[in-house]
Amino acid sequence: MKEIRLHGRGGQGVVKASQIVVKSAVDAGGYGQFIPFFGVERKGSPVFGFLRLGDEPIRRNTQVYEPELLLIFDDTLVDLPTTYDGLKQDGIIIVNSKKSASELKIPSQAGKVAIVDATGISLKLFGKNIPNTAMLGAFAKVTGLVDWEILLAEITSEFGEKNKEAAIAGYYEVSIADNKK
């Protein structure tokens, strides 16, 4: 079982993106679970959620404290003390940013850092910052945890063709590097 934590801002589609990942996992015959953290969620406020994927039924329904993977929808969130909290040794960080890894205060325990300009993709395609589907593309590429074809089909049926394009762009534009410790 993989435990993943997502960080974003209200309005960026964190919840929807996570639901699509779980749907894709379930459609592929696997197991997935997503719990949104429910605060007083407003457009722009920091939000987060907990995602689990696995080959066995997922029984626990508690928050994720020691994620193997962090999916960060907004690079301004790296300044929050809780964003990198509990990341496992050699864990993966996927972040929506134009910045380089050195500017993102990547913690030392991170193994890989993947950076994708999901906002740029979103602005180009939709004229606004809804980076979630581009992030999903990057997520699929970096982790291989979901079936890429099924994920694309889910994105298309949920959001339409343009979002499929965004996912594909995210998939191909993400740059993956080992964390320089």
Binding site: Q19, V22, K23, Q33, N61, Q63
Partner: protein, 392 residues
């Protein structure tokens, strides 16, 4: 059947619609609101043909439903926390009029302090209002118990309304795969509603709820309690029938997990049970003989089954997601203890309380309960209440 990923609230709405309710009344309240919303979508799209009444309050929700039930209808609603509290007046009347229905309680902490988040204080606070209450572990069980719920509540030996209680946010907003039965399968399992003990009908006039003397009222209460006891058998019977039709069984009023050879037993209720299973397995890996009782039905309280499951064990702890004011303990702890009064065992035992107001019950919390059980198992008697909380 098809496995689909969905939230607990969507699951509840689909389950209710599969049971072909005549009337649904609902009022939005966090964290239940998406049940009301999704049911509206089903009705507005034409997928669900029911009388859907969007009232001005939960008090009226239960009242509209009571009226529909008094005309012989199958009904559904869902609520949470303050909504349940506001509903209390017709809620109590619903059960004491012995009108069958299924109502989901998306459990929520009670105010004050101001909160909208998870906890079981709302449902626990009304456990003596004459309803049946089942607490479920995951979204699949939400689906299955709403369907089973109608069979139980409408059973001629029961005729008591039932609450299917599931954790706010930790299940209501959790997305996971759910095996969704087809309409055909549910129709084959669940017969149409039929009851006629309290019906307003010009062709057969009667006064429903006439003024009643204490002597007669006592007779009604006695009958209600006796029906509760009979319900314990109906629960097991319906669970078996359900297993036959759908291939899933929940073990009836309680489920035992790795209890057979256990020294110490954790008693969990609701969504936290899954987390407890993982914690028990982790403890087993370390050689600790831990077991788990999943307390499913709280009303009727499965006294005998709990006593049997704990027979010969050294220690137990009950993890409550609510408090019992006046006991410095959780409510289920007090009731589990009461269930053991007839046995000879000298247990070590304590109450654990956590997950209030949206706080998490983590694997670490469950492990801390197991560790405490290990350390006190040879010291019979009650030990201090363990509060599962962050240290400030």
């Amino acid at each position: 059947m098809k496995i689909k990923a969905m939230t607990g609230n969507t699951t509840a709405a689909i389950a209710a619609s599969l049971c072909r309710p005549d009337l649904i009344a609902a009022y939005p309240i966090t964290p239940q609101s998406s049940v009301a919303e999704y049911l509206s979508e089903l009705v507005h799209s034409g997928e669900l043909q029911t009388n859907y009444v969007t009232t001005e309050s939960e008090h009226s929700v239960m009242s509209v439903i009571q009226g529909a039930a008094c005309a012989g209808g199958r009904t559904f609603t869902a609520t949470s926390g303050q909504g349940l509290a506001l509903m209390y007046e017709p809620y109590f009347q619903m059960s004491t009029m012995r009108l069958p229905m299924v109502m989901a309680i998306v459990t929520r902490e009670m105010i004050s302090p101001c909160t909208v988040w998870s906890g079981q204080q709302d449902a626990m606070s009304v456990r003596d209002a004459g309803w049946l209450q089942v607490y479920v572990e995951n979204n699949q069980e939400i689906m299955d118990m709403i369907i089973q719920g109608y069979m139980i509540t409408e059973h001629e030996d029961v005729l008591i309304p039932i609450n299917v209680c599931y954790d706010g946010f930790y299940l209501s907003h959790l997305v996971e795969g759910v095996d969704v039965p087809s309409q055909k399968e549910v129709d084959a399992f669940l017969p149409p509603v039929h009851f006629n003990h309290a019906i307003l009908d010009p062709d057969n006039p009667m006064a429903v709820d006439s003024l009643t003397s204490g002597e007669v009222l006592t007779r009604y209460r006695k009958g209600h309690l006796e029906a509760m006891v009979k319900t314990l058998d109906v629960i097991e019977e319906v669970d078996k029938k359900f297993a036959k039709s759908f291939g899933r069984s929940y073990g009836g009023a309680i489920e035992e997990y790795k209890c057979d050879d256990a020294d110490i037993v954790l008693v969990a209720i609701g969504g936290m049970t899954g987390t407890a299973r993982d914690a028990v397995d982790m403890a087993r890996d370390k050689g600790i003989k831990a077991g788990l009782i999943k307390l499913r039905f709280v009303r009727p309280f499965p006294t005998d089954r709990i006593a049997n499951a704990l027979k010969g064990k050294k220690a137990f702890a009950v993890v409550d997601r609510s408090v019992c004011f006046g006991w410095n303990a959780g409510p289920m702890y007090t009731e589990v203890r009461a269930a053991l009064i007839n046995g000879d065992d000298k247990y070590s035992h304590f109450s654990a309380i956590g997950g209030l107001g949206g706080a998490d019950i983590s694997i670490k919390h469950m492990t801390s309960v197991i560790e405490k059980l290990e350390s006190v198992k040879s010291k019979p008697g009650q030990h201090d209440t363990l509060w599962l909380m962050k240290e400030f």
